[in-house]
């Protein structure tokens, strides 16, 4: 009986994960990403001290965040309507969207692999990542009021 209860509760857990709102999920990941990049850019701007270990930890968290983005699961067909700023262009050009995402993931991984030793190195890397943010938001996000 106990086993059955556990099995049922696990099933429902799995189901709730599968049926979670992809719009909320992707927004959560984007918010977390923004916070991480924001913390790093404070260091790059000299508003916070450069601590190599803390920077590496933040970059690793950024990589974990980036790798969580499963485009098929987070941007399923039909999730262009509702309370979202995702552009319909994502679904019109899914291949282009995926390529843009993959470039960002690769750039984050490269940043972790070549962890910055000083502020200037970090600045250059944040520049690359920031440009990735802009490139994707240029085409695949619609600003709403």
């Amino acid at each position: 009986m106990r086993k059955l209860v556990i099995a049922i509760s696990m099933l429902s857990l799995a189901a709730s994960a599968a049926f979670a709102d992809p719009i909320l999920d992707r927004q959560g990941l984007m918010k977390e990403r923004g916070k991480l990049v924001g913390g790093l850019s404070k260091i790059a701007k000299g508003e916070a001290d450069f601590d190599a270990a803390a920077v590496l930890a933040a970059l690793q968290a950024l990589q974990v965040n980036a790798e969580k983005v499963d485009v098929d699961a987070l941007f399923p067909a039909g999730s262009d309507s509702g309370d979202t700023t995702a552009s319909p262009k994502i679904w019109q050009d899914m291949a282009g969207f995926k390529t843009t995402n993959e470039k960002y993931v690769a750039d984050v991984k490269a940043t972790v692999a070549a962890a910055p030793a000083d502020v200037d190195a970090l600045k250059a890397q944040i520049g690359t990542l920031g440009s990735d943010c802009g490139t994707c938001h240029q085409t695949y996000r619609v600003k709403k009021g």
Binding site: G34, V37, G38, G82, I126, S131, C133, Q138, K143, K144
Partner: protein, 316 residues
């Protein structure tokens, strides 16, 4: 019967006079000799700053091109608006397909008056309603810089506009309403220089209001809602309120604004998006004091609530 004849006659005369007046009032007006004399010799190094402030590449670079290729000003972007589709032309130095054969006076008439070398009106999708506030000497500098860029062959397709917007001559009347070389925001005597420089950059070459200010039904910007944000002319979505009013950027410091223009990051860790991405990349090329000046001006602009309707949140 005689009365009717008289009336018809009067109506005819009035109609002819009206059409004649409309024709005269809609005539393209080129710059006078006094303004042309202020052009001066032009300097390509200074012109590069104007080129970046104006963001010429955003519309005239080949769509989707990156890096150095953005200096090939071949045009061809499609701006889909409620008036129809505007296609920015080739403004490279190609003498046949581009503007390589233009004189500096031709460029000045285009940018300050919206008049082509052959004497036709340009459509204000080419933002001369903003450029009209530029100093002639800056046009000459820009001309010198454009001369250093490559000639690229290839004509961009024509605009495809709906009636009555497809009648170019009518733009002469539009210009009478909206074309002015005077600043929009009056600033008191003794206003510090960065604010004045910022006003020049934003209201003139930067043409920020072309997207950030809502328009009336004839497509003129509403000066009473200057920079209050607007429904995007293209597609869905909005262009943000950049005044300090509710919904705007009142909680951004001047340093936040300057940093956004340099790096593309907002103070709340979001990134630049949409058409602003190209604009921000151009702004990043400006000297730091120009970005600071733009920030100082935006803080001096009267605050307005959002110039676009509130978003109706869709039911879940």
């Amino acid at each position: 019967m005689a009365l009717l004849k008289k009336l018809v006659g009067a109506a005819l005369v009035l109609g002819v006079v009206g059409a004649g007046a409309g024709w005269l009032l809609s005539a393209p007006v080129k710059l006078d000799a006094e303004t042309l004399a202020q052009l001066g010799p032009g300097d390509a190094v200074r012109g590069k700053r104007i080129f970046n402030a104006g963001g010429c590449t955003s519309c005239h670079a080949k769509p989707g091109s990156k890096g150095e290729a953005r200096l090939q000003l071949v045009g061809g972007l499609q701006l889909k608006t409620p008036f129809g589709t505007f296609v920015p032309p080739n403004i490279s130095q190609d003498p046949k397909d581009g503007i390589g054969a233009w004189t500096v006076e031709d460029l000045a008439n285009a940018m300050l008056r919206g008049v082509s070398p052959s004497g036709e009106h340009f459509y204000p999708a080419f933002p001369y309603a903003s450029y009209a506030r530029m100093k002639p000497a800056d046009i000459a500098d820009l001309y010198a810089f454009l001369k250093t860029l490559p000639a690229v062959a290839g004509k961009a397709p024509d605009n495809s506009l709906s009636f009555p917007f497809n009648i170019r001559r009518g733009l002469g009347l539009w210009k009478r309403l909206y074309l002015s070389n005077q600043p929009v925001i009056a600033l008191a005597d003794g206003t510090p220089d960065p604010v004045l420089t910022g006003r020049y950059l934003v209201e003139g070459p930067g043409h920020c209001s072309e997207c950030h200010t809502p328009r009336d039904f004839t497509g003129g910007t509403k000066k009473s809602l200057w920079l209050a944000g607007a429904t995007a002319a293209e597609g869905r979505g909005i262009v943000p309120n950049i005044t300090s009013g509710e919904g705007g950027i009142g909680d951004w410091s001047e340093a936040d604004i300057a940093n956004y223009l340099e790096t593309g990051f907002t103070p709340d860790f979001d990134s630049v998006g949409g058409a602003m991405v190209d604009v921000q990349r151009n702004m990043a090329e400006l000297p730091p004091e120009d970005r600071a000046a733009i920030a100082a001006y935006l803080k001096a602009v009267p605050p307005h609530p959002n110039g676009y309707p509130a978003r109706s949140k869709p039911a879940k």
